[in-house]
């Protein structure tokens, strides 16, 4: 179990049961557990949706779409079953918040799924866990089993006459499956490849039925909103950005960890919450929403952390993973690290993402090790800009945006790597010769993965 961190500025809503032993259903019930579900059963669908709308709860997965509005898109009548899906495929580098929710407060996710189900008149929920989160499956499955044993799930929940089934499912481990339609493909047992949209999941989703799909943190917030009221929740954050958020502060800080802070909390103060930059280093840049958002330079960090303010600053709040970068970091290497991730995770469906990430990774490996030429810099930007907005799903944007911002904002660092010069941030510098890739043979290990 990961060590929990804390700070006086924290406003604990979704994390209030962290460290309280709430995986045990009796302990959870003692901590106001399942009260929200019972209240929701008496409220009716429209009242629930209105409450969630009033809370200004926006999707915690990255896109920040208002949750209440999403639920209201689901048609009231449907010939096919409706589904509620919890997206627990938390894969964005730097993001580690859903994991804590599953680990410390699994029942809150189940409650969120049930309440969303009541709101859209669905009777089947799925909690999809990231393939790599094997150790959380046991916790979640036990929680679901406990809820069934108490009659909180299954037929006639809480004696209300409402039926709701819920199951935990996992994938094979793919970042791409965090994309909602790819997650549905994966859940249906197919390759995790996104679907053509429209139709959107609210109309045609899992198994062709109308589907609500929300991030685990979003759903875990729902019981608190039902109990505390939408207005109370909204008042915790800034206008249009209701409530608190689990921020995953990582990188060059003294006390990295997951802190629950109000929406709109200042980024510079946030770095202090995490204990400040380590080793007396200076701040160089921040990636405020996970690896897929444009970086902010140190000068740009005096900014409230909410969806709208960051959008205005040319970046995004994303999944709430704040990566703090100090001045000993080579930004070319950073770009390479990010691109290695995207090249590895690209599903390969569309040309620009599949080939663009591969090309960028090859170029950045060579470039960082001193084999770069001047036109590479423009080419890196060119490739990323031509991926942006043209890929099948937002994955291509996620790979392109940080790359473009890194080249634009830290061009000088790229220039410093030219003409065979070793990386100025590393004491050894040698040009890495790329092997001719023979990795398509699935029976041998990926030499790229081994080499780097």
């Amino acid at each position: 179990m990961a060590d929990l961190v804390s700070h006086p500025d924290e406003v604990r809503v979704v994390s209030k049961r962290f460290g309280e032993g709430a995986t045990d259903i009796d302990r959870y019930l003692a901590l106001d557990g399942y009260k929200a579900t019972q209240k929701a059963l008496t409220m009716g669908a429209d009242a629930i949706i209105n409450e969630v709308k009033a809370s200004n709860l926006r999707g915690r997965g990255g896109a920040g779409f208002p949750a209440g509005m999403k639920w209201s898109f689901v048609p009231k009548q449907s010939p096919k079953p409706k589904y509620v899906l919890c997206n627990g495929d938390e894969s964005e580098p730097g993001t580690c918040k859903d994991r804590l929710i599953f680990e410390h407060d699994p029942h809150s996710v189940i409650e969120g799924v049930i309440i969303a189900g009541i709101a859209v008149d669905s009777h089947q929920g799925y909690i999809y866990l990231r393939g790599e989160y094997r150790y959380l499956i046991e916790i979640m499955e036990k929680a679901v089993a406990d809820a069934y044993a108490r009659g909180f799930l299954g037929k006639n929940i809480f004696g209300s006459g409402y039926d709701f089934e819920c199951a935990v499912q996992t994938g094979a481990g793919a970042y791409e499956v965090g994309e909602e339609s790819a997650l549905m493909e994966s859940l249906e047992g197919k390759r995790g490849i996104p679907r053509i949209r429209p139709p959107f999941p609210a109309v045609v989703g899992l198994y062709g039925g109308p589907t609500v799909i929300n991030n685990a943190e979003t759903l875990a917030n729902v019981p608190h909103i039902i109990l505390g009221g939408g207005e109370w929740y909204a008042s915790l954050g800034t206008p249009k950005n209701g409530g608190t958020r689990l921020f995953c502060l990582s990188g060059s800080v003294n006390k990295p960890g997951v802190y629950e802070l109000p929406m709109g909390y200042n980024l510079r103060k946030m770095i202090e919450v995490a204990g400040g930059i380590w080793n007396g280093r200076k701040l160089k840049a921040v990636q405020p929403g996970g690896s897929s958002v444009p970086v902010l330079t140190a000068d740009e960090t005096d900014i409230p952390m909410d969806f709208d303010a960051l959008m205005k600053a040319g970046s995004m709040l994303g999944s709430g993973a704040v990566v703090i970068i100090d001045d000993s970091t080579c930004m070319v290497k950073y770009a390479l690290r990010v691109m290695k991730f995207y090249q590895h995770e690209s599903c390969g469906w569309c040309i620009p993402c599949r080939e663009g990430t591969d090309w960028l990774k090859k170029t950045l490996i060579r470039f960082h090790s001193g084999g770069g030429v001047r036109r590479d810099i423009d080419n890196i930007q060119y490739l990323a800009e031509n991926m942006l907005g043209r890929t099948f799903c937002p994955f291509g944007d996620a790979a392109a945006m940080p790359t473009i911002s890194l080249v634009k904002k830290f061009r000088q660092e790229f220039e410093d790597h030219l003409e065979g010069k070793p990386c100025p941030y590393e004491d050894h510098g040698k040009i890495e010769h790329l092997p001719v890739l023979t990795a398509w043979d699935h029976r041998t290990a990926d030499p790229w993965a081994q080499a780097h």
Binding site: G348, P352, T363, R366, V373, D376, N379, T438
Partner: protein, 788 residues
């Protein structure tokens, strides 16, 4: 559906609601490039080549997944769109090897074309391209991953189109690759659709690769000579030695009834042409041994013996066996030869379906047969007997596609859960051999139900099945040779509203052979012998007694009463297991491609040209008439048409009465020796003459015979223009076949499957290699896997 107005590049256009933007643009000639979009297959949106600007949309949109909306304003020619296309090509070329000079697809590669049209002229790539060695998946399918652009067309056509699902995708990202779902090899129908549909050279054909460059070939659209479905096949021919060599078969001319489709036989099994055992010189039996002879010697001997027999014992002592693989013109001419020259009705052929009973049952309903195209558009299809997946691959494709794209309802009655039951709405499993009972039951005879009951088929199920069928309008009813005579007639007569029928024969021109009157008791168009006079003055001499069928001819042979037997393109000895000694005293003449079991008994063997080496026409099993065009050459052989006429001439018959000499018939027509695209004088014929060789060009234009067929055979008076344009024309079933109500007991289904095709299949290298690969014993590695 209501029409929708949109604007593309400032041009206003109208298209039905629901049209995809890419199709709407195409309809007015605005090209939107794409790799992954393929009409009829599921949408992918994967290649991102079709990105266009749509007003009010923040990002570029894929035209292949966008359905047009009223008032949509689209730009396909802006700088942004051009840049997107250019960049997409740069991306896809990142890992694509530039081995165009040695790539089979070079010259007909969509990636090449697009790079010329939209691409960048210089590469930005400095780094290595990914590489993976080439793989062979089957005798005919090779895969070169580096060339693959992952458009997933092959995966879709194999799965959605063929319903085989032999291909899948492995790995992800840049390491994604198309791979067989079965370990390292394909276990499929080997149709080669994946190769044909591949826009680049990633999938190449084991039968064609490295043989030629596309621009060195001429392309001749002709009709496949294997099964009875009549697929149009485009043969790539190349000048080789002293004639044209066929190097490839495909369906790049998608205009035929088969559209995209070809099966393994249509695509690859033309190679029997070049088999070393091919007969290229006439053989005459001397001292008990078949010995090479000149055409003059052989033909003169045949004419002499035929004339002797006719003039001494009369036509009744002579038999003629025609072929279900020769052209309509040859079949028509052969029965005319028998009836006018030999003065006999002793003519028969290998019958594979009860066409006379079918025609008899349809009497008065000349347009109640369905064409192959109807199967693709019918709202409902009933299939009784047969297994089209293996015996009529195009028919199966049409049914599958109709169900998949148009939601047609398929009803299957079979004794076996055939593959097409996957597409079926209703499947009625009946006991083996009870197809006739099923037909009787469906036609309303409740007493037939007893014979249909099985553990799965109850009386309720039977009644429900019939009731559903009775509710179907414009049903297409397809039945195999299991249905004959009265049951066939009952089914056809029970016709519900607008029903149309298809009677399935087995060979490329089985229907044509029947239509052209290769029967002892029926004239062309299933007319009775009493109506011979309507064919013209000379026909008045045709004997009015029905001749002998094949069985009677053999019996006559045993009694030493059959003096001559003229077998054209048929192998009755093997097919009907005829006792070879039955024909010991008969002067047997065989025209064929190979030394068949029948040819082996012959006194004279004449080497014939196959259907790919001549012009003419075929009628498929539905009654669709199509033209054959000469594609290849084989030195030494002659078309049956010419051989028949030459024999008649040597017998002293006025050949003008037999085959009207068309003024155009004296020169090479239809690209007889140079491929259809050549308008040049026939240099080959001139060269042959200079060298002292026989001209290989027939002096007779088969089209002159076709003109006569169109004039005199009921149902065949179809538009010439359509035919000459290379289209299929559905013939009417205008004949009556009077008295043909009993089941034809001489029907012998060919029992071909996807990989066999009678004698021709035996000599096809590709078919044999595929069969061997499929039969190969599991090796050690596979045993290990099996043990797991």
């Amino acid at each position: 559906m209501a029409d929708v107005n949109i604007t593309v590049d400032g041009r206003k256009l109208t298209a039905p609601a629901g049209t995809l933007l890419i199709e709407a643009c195409k309809s007015v000639g605005i090209e939107v490039p794409s790799f992954c979009y393929y009409p009829g297959l599921s949408l992918q949106g994967a290649c991102r080549m079709c990105l266009v600007e749509i007003a009010k949309m923040p990002k570029l949109q894929t035209a292949c997944t966008t359905v047009i909306q009223e008032g949509m304003a689209v730009t396909t020619a802006s700088d942004t769109v051009h840049q997107a296309r250019k960049a997409m090509l740069e991306f896809v070329l990142q890992n694509h090897p530039l081995d165009c000079p040695v790539c089979d697809a070079g010259g007909e590669c969509e990636l090449q074309d697009m790079t010329f049209s939209y691409g960048a002229s210089e590469s930005k790539l400095i780094d290595f391209k990914n590489h993976k060695d080439e793989e062979q998946w089957s005798p005919v399918v090779f895969f070169d991953r580096p060339r693959c652009i992952l458009c997933y067309r092959c995966v879709r056509v194999c799965g959605e189109g063929m319903d085989v699902w032999a291909l899948g995708i492995q790995n992800r990202g840049a390491l994604s690759l198309i791979a067989p779902n079965q370990d390292d090899h394909l276990e499929c129908e080997e149709c080669g659709m994946c190769i044909d549909i591949c826009p680049v050279g990633a999938l190449t054909s084991g039968a064609y690769r490295y043989k030629t460059r596309p621009w060195e070939m001429n392309h001749v659209s002709t009709v496949c000579l294997h099964c009875a479905d009549g697929c149009k096949t485009t043969l790539g021919v190349r000048r080789q030695g002293s004639g044209n060599q066929i190097v490839r078969g495909d369906n790049r001319d998608k205009s035929g009834i088969n559209g995209d489709f070809l099966c393994i036989k249509g695509r690859y099994a033309f190679d029997f042409i070049e088999h070393p055992d091919r007969l290229k010189q006439p053989l005459v039996r001397k001292n008990g041994t078949l010995t090479p002879a000149s055409w003059e010697e052989a033909l003169e001997l045949v004419a002499l013996r035929f004339r002797e027999a006719r003039d001494t014992d009369g036509g009744a002592s002579m038999g003629v066996i025609g072929s279900s693989r020769t052209t309509n013109e040859e079949n028509y001419l052969l029965q005319k030869f028998a009836r006018l020259v030999l003065r006999t009705n002793n003519i028969d052929h290998h019958r594979t379906a009860d066409f006379p009973a079918f025609v008899n049952a349809l009497s008065g309903r000349a347009h109640a047969t369905a064409s192959m195209r109807d199967v693709l558009s019918a709202p409902a299809v009933l299939l009784i007997g047969n297994d089209p997946t293996y015996q009529h691959p195009l028919l199966a494709w049409q049914i599958r596609t109709n169900v998949r794209l148009h939601g047609a309802r398929l009803y299957v009655v079979n004794s076996w859960p055939i593959k097409l039951t996957r597409q079926a709405k209703e499947f009625l499993q009946i006991p083996e051999g009870a197809e006739d009972k099923a037909a009787a039951f469906l036609a309303g005879d409740d007493s037939a139900a007893d014979a249909l009951l099985t553990s799965k088929t109850t009386r309720e199920k039977l009644a429900g099945f019939r009731e559903k069928l009775q509710g179907e309008q414009n049903l297409v009813v397809i039945f195999g040779s299991e249905l004959r005579g009265q049951e066939l007639a009952a089914l056809v007569r029970a016709a519900a509203r607008g029903a149309k029928y298809i009677c399935l024969g087995d060979h490329a021109n089985s229907r044509g052979a029947a239509d052209m009157g290769l029967y002892p008791d029926l004239l062309p168009g299933y007319l009775p012998l009493s109506e011979a006079a309507r064919f013209g003055e000379p026909w008045k001499s045709v004997p009015q007694q029905p001749g002998m069928d094949l069985e009677a001819m053999v019996a006559a042979g045993k009694e030493r009463k059959l003096r001559t037997l003229y077998v054209v393109g048929s192998n009755p000895v093997a097919r009907y297991a005829i006792d070879p000694f039955a024909l010991a005293e008969t002067f047997v003449v065989v025209e064929d491609l190979f030394l068949t079991e029948t040819a082996d008994l012959a006194e004279v063997v004449l080497p014939a040209a196959c259907a790919y080496e001549k012009s003419g026409s075929f009628t498929n099993t539905c009654g669709d008439l199509q033209l054959l065009r000469k594609a290849g050459d084989c030195e030494g052989v002659k078309p049956d048409l010419e051989i028949i006429v030459r024999i008649a001439e040597l017998m002293g018959f006025d050949i003008q009465q037999l085959a009207p000499l068309d003024p155009s018939g004296m020169r090479a027509d239809f690209g007889e020796s140079r491929g259809v695209q050549s308008g040049e004088v026939d240099q080959q014929a001139i060269w042959n003459r200079r060298q002292g060789y026989e001209p290989r060009v027939s002096p007779f234009n088969p089209f002159a015979v076709l003109k006569e067929i169109q004039r005199v055979v009921p149902g065949y008076n179809v538009g010439q223009l359509e035919l000459l344009s290379g289209n299929d024309v559905h013939t009417a079933t205008a004949g009556r076949a009077p008295g043909k109500t009993e089941a034809d007991r001489f029907i012998l289904p060919s029992h071909e499957n996807l990989f066999t095709s009678g004698t021709l299949g035996r000599y096809s290298d590709v078919l044999n290699r595929v069969i061997e690969a499929r039969l190969r014993l599991p090796n050690e590695k596979e045993k290990e896997i099996a043990a797991d």
